[in-house]
Amino acid sequence: MLVNEKVAIEHGLKAEEYKKICDLLKRVPNLTELGIFSAMWNEHCSYKSSRLHLKKLPTKGDKVIQGPGENAGVIDIEDNDAIVFKIESHNHPSFIEPYQGAATGVGGIMRDVFTMGARPIANLNSIHFGSPQNKKTKNLLRGVVHGIGGYGNCMGVPTIAGQTTFDSSYNGNILVNAMTLGLVKKDKIFYSKAAGLNKPVIYVGSKTGRDGIHGASMASASFDEKIEEKKPTVQVGDPFTEKLLLEACLELMAGDSIIAIQDMGAAGLTSSSIEMASKGSLGIRINLNEVPCRETKMTPYEIMLSESQERMLIVLENGKENHAKKIFDKWNLDFAVIGKTTKSKNIELFFNDEQVANIPVNTLVENSPMYDRKWKKAKLPKKNKFKNEDFNNLKIKDILKKILSNHNVCSKEWIWQQYDHTVMGDTIQKPGGDSGVVKVHGTNKAVAASVDSSAVYCWAHPLTGGKQVVAESWRNLISVGAKPIAITNCLNFGSPENEENMGEFVECVQGITEASKYLNFPVVSGNVSFYNQTKEMGIKPTPVIGGVGLIKDYKKMVTMKFKEVSNLVLIVGKTEGHIDQSLFARTILDEKNGPPPEVNLFNEKNNGESILELIKKDFIKSAHDISLGGLLTAVSKMCIKGNKGIKLNKSKNLINEIEYFFSEDQGRYIIEINPTDFKEVSKILDKNSVHFEELGIIIDKELIINQKTKVTIDELKSYNTNWLKNFMSS
């Protein structure tokens, strides 16, 4: 096939990008070369619309060993231990084929982590679906949950936390973001930078098939009515092979045979070989006849662009081939020497003794396009003025019932019970808490992790929303007693070619930057997913933050369940009564406008650090941060988990009772303490100038709001636990 502008455009390239390729090569590329360019220059691989803005993110810190740019980020958790972690999207494939799309998303992110030498110790996920009324939602949810479980369970890695939301903006584009944490010794981390000339380049893992060709390009475009035709671009996962690949790689990594290693993820053999060559400033020559293929008569084009799963590319030390082969033979995996490193700085491909591609590596990487897209700044919406009569006819118990059973607040047990969350025997806080927590095997340390997003806030005001997500992640870690260390982000947005969508991206990134800088909570890895849109309809901006923190003594971990009758419950942080964009405003008042709650980073930091101080001194018996649904929702969840009630004091706060209970002001926590510790606790909070109020006393089996309003724990449970189960079986 002759290559021309039309063929290039069919590959998803723009006319001017094609011209740039011809200029860089000083000739017309052949079809294989064009395929390679299209794979490297698409949005998913090149970050061409986002790179400029991502540079602003704070990526350094005294605990950061590796920031963005590698397969995953790495942080120091002391004693020569390090945590490798990253989040990644698999949105487009999951909408087309939910089981395989979600499964290979989980497989891909685990590979990113064990490529660096770390054994995966925890998985998390953030999944977002269309409205429950949308006829596709149920099947997509079921498929995605089965896919995530099918892959993670088989790998034997516990899924310890997650987030599920429903919103009509995801009707045509669901989001599936998967995160993995791995544990590695600080001095045994592996990188993807090739080094040395004439070193053997090794292919290991599954055979290459025709699945997933152009997967990364598909993920860089919007959907239209021809979406069904895209099914063959979805990869098919095999967690069994990945489990073998994990064990074989870790076995080989125990020695000193590996110079560089890179998994074959998006754009397969193309991006893995080019990234290794680019980082090492050298060339790679590959004989494509040596690549193990699953199907016959595969062309160089297909071999280079296949996204078959469970494959790795390794640059070995000379003479280690036999040693490595023995390990992969033991695990019944393919092993082939397919090429070597060269000084040419080109990627040179041969097939049937003919050269089929020869491209300077820098043209693919450094010279890839970068765009300063036009973007529109969002205005802060005007506050709604609510009057007392807006609330007069509302009964607190009715509101509470509606909120606890709301699809975005209700218990997601139906989902996480399908994920093995206890395998590896180190899970000390399972899903359903503020963060998942796993022990660092064989030590007294534990690692906490949480995934969060607040698309509604980001949609109402991206800058505030971006800040808020980081703050929420920080609070979720603190609520379990973990010191927050770093984050990974998955930035899910609509088309960057649309000024409003691009503006949402730019300002969310700005918000994330401000918050993570202020909280010393740097970004060490991440992923951008644009074009989450079907025709003209884009998703609400959904940056997802995966936070990781350390608990030095796992026995000091805190949970949200109320522990003991007659203990005192405090609310830490000030309640101002911000109702706009709260779940209450949106679902009960049907008011969708207004600004999200303000994020005061000084208070976030101060309140959070004060909570950690109290935990360190053993004052806190249970803790929970206040987020979606407000104060009364948070208290109810603590009651449900602990199977205990609470008698609330009459609030001294001057705002309306409904605003007090359901506003979503930020920076707040609920904590349980022993009444005898009250003096000490208030002394510490006063010293730190932290606002707090006495909320109530723990009692048996009943939430007593005031003389007129009482709710039993069984009622609370029935509101909260049934919605999802009923929805899925209806």
């Binding site: 088989c154 019970q417 206890t422």
Partner: protein, 227 residues
């Protein structure tokens, strides 16, 4: 006391079992599926996981692994062999214990704590335990026990049911049957009671900070019984 845990390709609870056995005093060895011979053992464990990716049928390919001939001989000579979860699935495939394990009734993987009731303590696994009801953890997709009427009669005649799913008071009913197992059967012995297959994972219940501690009671008792 010496134990051996067999690692098949795709096993993923082998390390957890190793940790648990060592914690309660066993000297444990990990044995590769492709080995010919078992090391000298007082107990052999087939751990949980997805041996051979559950391809063909859960446990079927692992049951034909090279090491399994030694395990079968060891069992037939009276040695203690315990299969947990996927290990139970492997045991039914070898025919060492009767029955089969089907997909869970609601076709979903289940990971949660359950209660089980011990039916029969006249065996090396449960002898001397104080309690009859234990809180264990399950995590499986194919734990729905089934056998023919004739097999069930034989199982009952020989008191081969090891544990039943029940509530915290020991009541055995449909409401507390997590996966649709026939008669709420969660674990089963061979006739001689030296081979035990069960779906629950006692090795995930060995620390208060994990899911609970009833697994500790089980392992402590087991090693004392073997001594």
């Amino acid at each position: 006391m010496k134990s051996s845990v067999i690692t098949f390709p795709g096993s993923n609870c082998d390390r957890d079992m190793d940790v648990a056995l060592k914690k309660f005093g066993f000297i444990n060895k990990m044995v590769w599926h492709d080995d010919n011979e078992l090391p000298k053992s007082d107990l052999v464990v087939l751990p949980g996981g997805f041996s051979y990716g559950d391809y063909l049928r859960c446990g079927s390919m692992a049951s034909k692994s090279r090491i399994m001939q030694s395990v079968i001989n060891f069992a037939k000579s009276g040695g203690l062999v315990m299969g947990i979860c996927n290990g139970f699935q492997i045991l039914v495939e070898t025919g060492l214990v009767p029955g089969v394990l089907l997909r869970n009734k609601y076709l979903e993987f289940i990971c949660k704590n359950v209660h089980v009731k011990i039916d029969n303590k006249e065996n090396p696994y449960f002898k001397n335990l104080d309690n009859n009801i234990f809180e264990f953890h399950i995590a499986h997709n194919e734990g729905n026990y089934f056998c023919t009427k004739d097999q069930l009669k034989e199982i009952n005649d020989n008191s081969q049911v090891a544990i039943y799913y029940c509530n915290e008071k020991g009541q055995i009913d449909d409401q507390h049957n997590p996966n649709g197992s026939l008669k709420n059967i969660a674990g089963i012995f061979n006739k001689e009671k030296n081979v035990l297959g069960m779906m629950p994972h006692p090795e995930r219940m060995i620390d208060q900070s994990l899911s609970g501690e009833d697994g500790s009671l089980f392992f402590k008792n087991l090693i004392n019984n073997i001594k």
